[in-house]
Point group: C2
């Protein structure tokens, strides 16, 4: 049982690896303005409080990696209520990637579901 549950964690982690990047690009593309981590986490929380991927701490490495790869850009700004905040914005490259990824997501769902249904 422990074996299974660790396999299941691995499966969940693999699925989240791809989908979390897709979600972040999509949220930032739609928002039309730069957003900081906590703001994004709150927005995602409205859609499904039980989804493990949404834990705030898990967002930051994905945001950083998307920025390193040129799909997001960021700017640090002072905050009135606490430490400075890093605001993220989608780049043109990010928009192009998002379009491609949406297609891949759609195709993957279709293919996987066709196999699962047999």
């Amino acid at each position: 049982m422990i074996e299974n549950s660790s396999q299941t964690k691995k499966f969940q982690k693999e699925l989240n690896a791809g989908t979390s990047s897709l979600i972040l690009l999509s949220v930032l593309s739609r928002s039309g303005e730069a957003m900081y981590g906590y703001q994004i986490a709150k927005l995602l929380g409205q859609n499904g409080p039980d989804f493990p991927m949404m834990k705030q701490g898990a967002l930051y490495p994905v945001l950083r990696s998307l920025e390193e790869n040129g799909l997001l850009e960021s700017l640090v700004e002072p905050s009135v209520s606490g430490p400075p905040r890093r605001y993220y914005k989608i780049t043109k490259e990010g928009q192009v990637a998002l379009e491609e990824w949406l297609d891949i997501w759609k195709q993957t769902k279709k293919f996987v579901d066709s196999i699962l249904k047999g």
Copy 2:
């Protein structure tokens, strides 16, 4: 453009990492009998010839990894028409994992699509 396209490959690869294991467990659960790699590849090919994950060579490492983790078991048998074949069968642990993974897949699709729709 090269940058983007390598990012897109990475995204596709991440999505496939989880879904390919799910698909293989599902196919072997439904078949009711042991199957060898080429047989599985042919079956998947009927559902969508353009899906990159289905390339036959890509199946083998996933089958091996599922076996190493106790979700599949295998048996080598001689073949009349060529070299011996390794037949894979789902284990009880594999069945339990499959049920859990189907739930996770359903939840992940629901969550991601709710975010994408905004």
